[in-house]
Amino acid sequence: MCLPSFLCVIKIMSTDKTLLEVNNLQVHFHLSGGGLIDRLMGSKPRIVKAVDGVSFDIKKGETLGLVGESGCGKSTTGRAILQLIKPTSGEVLFQGTNLAKLPDREMRPFRRHLQMIFQNPYASLNPRMTIGDIISEPLTVFKSLAKQQLDKQVQELIERVGLNPQFIKRYPHEFSGGQRQRIGIARALALNPDFIVADEPIAALDVSIQAQVMNLLQDLQKDFSLTYLFISHDLRAVRHMSNRVAVMYLGKLVELADANEIYQNPLHPYTQALISAVPVPDPKVEKQRQHIVLQGDVPSPLNPPLGCHFHTRCPQVMDQCKTNEPKFVNIGKNHFVACFLTNK
């Protein structure tokens, strides 16, 4: 009796640890060309497979970094997790519930647990609402608080993100980019969520302000035991913020590992090129570094190459890469790679 219950406890602890699990997530967009005339003419509808079979899990309290170049599907992945875009197929398990299958009505109570911070602090705040209204809106939607209590909570939130609570009656245009990003963070925190998708939260900010926002996000993570999906194209920021890092290329994950492991021992040729392309802020190191410069552009997601999507730019391409697609497999120490060089 003792042994099974002991096992049972372990099992609960380990499932407890995974907050969110994404299984074979696919998001496809249908482009124009599927109309009646096109169908009569026999042309096939054009489909962009923005996210094409992505699987990963996020453990409670960790930050998973998701990197890739523009158009690789990283933002779409973030939005599909929050059901802001309905996935075409696949599962998004949040504490065991498959969000992808929930009707909108049943999704609503989950939204308070899953929040988002947007890239563009100029476009993501309503210019006609005061920041007090912006931050209190989630609270009024989900909780019925008395006016006094509501004001108190909003003030606390504003202070917590490092703004002066006297600003409560001001409008977004009165703030700088970094301050607006703090307002967006306060709004995301209002309902005390478990999970936040931060989609390029520092891309629009100046260097000195980027450091401030990254530090704020890390402090809040500790204080509120938050779990982040940190989406960025900035590999320096991703390394700094993340426990684990996933690399995406043309709708698929190509590598996933612990942050230190992936930066010290990148196995996929694309990850290697990405890391080598990041300029290091030290002239002595930088002048001696060998950069792997990839040839060509990212192919159009409308018409991705056959086989491994990366084979058209890969410096180590082999014959099989052009026809077969490498599987995304664990090669040990939870280091996942999709490449024939490692998965023989």
């Binding site: 170049e69 523009s70 700088s176 970094g178 301050q179 100046d206 260097v207 000195s208 302000i209 980027q210 450091a211 401030q212 990254m214 530090n215 890390q218 194209h233 590999l235 320096r236 920021a237 390394r239 700094h240 942050a259 230190n260 930066y263 090129a273 990405l274 890391i275 080598s276 392309a277 990041v278 300029p279 290091v280 802020p281 030290d282 002239p283 002595k284 190191v285 930088e286 002048k287 570094r289 950069h291 410069v293 990839l294 040839q295 552009d297 990212v298």
Partner: protein
């Protein structure tokens, strides 16, 4: 800063102000530097620090109104570019001093074929006829690595990707073999792997053509890998200027120190990032004295007065009261 004989460009006490709403914004407020022949000078700073306006002022590309170059001189080939007549500076723009901009999407004309835009330059500045100019344009496109250039020359800019457009911009800028290339955030709009391609290209072409380069960027990593000297701008002034290696290994100004510490290094794991407190200043309402003093942890009462730029050692200048 020290006058050097081999300087291709000397900027002295340049001042560019913008007027509007009853306020004066001193976007560039007394900038001086020298660029030596064949060197790359990096200018770093945050948005609004005046780095782009400085370089637009060099070619007198400041729209008036609201902007006006109110003082200073820019010596290029023994002439003050601020004083020569308009038709003379037009002969320098694009021919002897060329510029590439941050956003290749908006700096190419969407209604003109790429070839026509490239040919315009050599026809205007070098008097080539149509077929010569076309040949030269194809040659330039090949030089910047555009495959199948003789066919692509008849494409429009929307048919090119962002990285390809920036290559076209570079081809255009280098068509007349300029003595000076000003690159204003040339890779900011591009993806990481494309950024690496463009930086390699600029480096390679610089060696091939022997152009001197001013590289404006906010990315300290790019400055580290590309430049010989670096100037750091804050609130319209150069607050520190030094050989790049010296600047990174031995920064003097607290703003430079803060910037260097606040960038995560991709090769090393760091615990907590250093952050410069506060916000970049409002240029229409600058604090008295040193504009960085409200954010500076080493500020003293002395900072109420503006610190003059002074020599720290051989080629290292800093505008800070701090002892070495």
């Amino acid at each position: 800063m020290a006058k050097s004989n081999s300087a291709i460009l000397s900027v002295r006490n340049l001042q560019t102000h913008f007027y509007g709403d009853g306020a004066v914004v001193k976007a560039v407020d007394g900038v001086s530097f020298d660029l030596k022949l064949g060197e790359t000078l990096g200018i770093v700073g945050e948005s609004g620090s005046g780095k782009s306006v400085t370089n637009l002022s060099i070619l007198r590309l400041i729209p008036y109104p609201p902007g006006k170059i109110v003082g200073g001189e820019v010596i290029f080939d023994n002439k003050d570019l601020m004083k020569i007549p308009e038709n003379e500076i037009r002969r320098i723009r694009g021919k002897r001093i060329a510029m590439i901009f941050q956003d290749p999407m908006t700096s190419l004309n969407p209604f003109m074929k790429i070839g026509a835009q490239l040919m315009e330059i050599t026809q205007l500045h070098e008097g080539l006829n149509n077929s010569q100019a076309r040949k030269k344009a194809i040659e330039m496109l090949e030089l910047v690595g555009i495959a199948d250039a003789s066919r692509r020359i008849d494409d429009y800019s929307h048919q090119f990707s962002g990285g390809m457009r920036q290559r076209v911009m570079i081809a255009m800028a280098l068509s007349c073999k300029p003595e000076l290339l000003i690159a204003d955030e040339p890779t900011t709009a591009l993806d990481v792997t494309i950024q690496a391609q463009i930086l390699e290209l600029i480096k390679g072409l610089k060696e091939k053509i022997g152009t001197s380069v001013i590289l404006i960027t906010h990315d300290l990593g790019i400055v580290a890998g590309m430049t010989d000297h670096t100037g750091v701008m804050y609130a319209g002034k150069i607050v520190e200027y030094a050989p790049t290696e010296e600047l990174f290994s031995n920064p003097h100004h607290p703003y430079t120190k803060g910037l260097l510490k606040s960038v995560p290094d991709p090769l090393i794991e760091q615990k907590k990032l250093f952050q410069i407190p506060g916000l970049p200043p409002d240029l229409s309402n600058l604090p008295k004295g040193c504009p960085f003093s409200p954010r500076c942890s080493s500020a003293t009462t002395q900072c109420q007065e503006f610190p003059p730029i002074r020599q720290i050692n051989a080629e290292h200048y800093s505008a800070c009261w701090l002892e070495n």
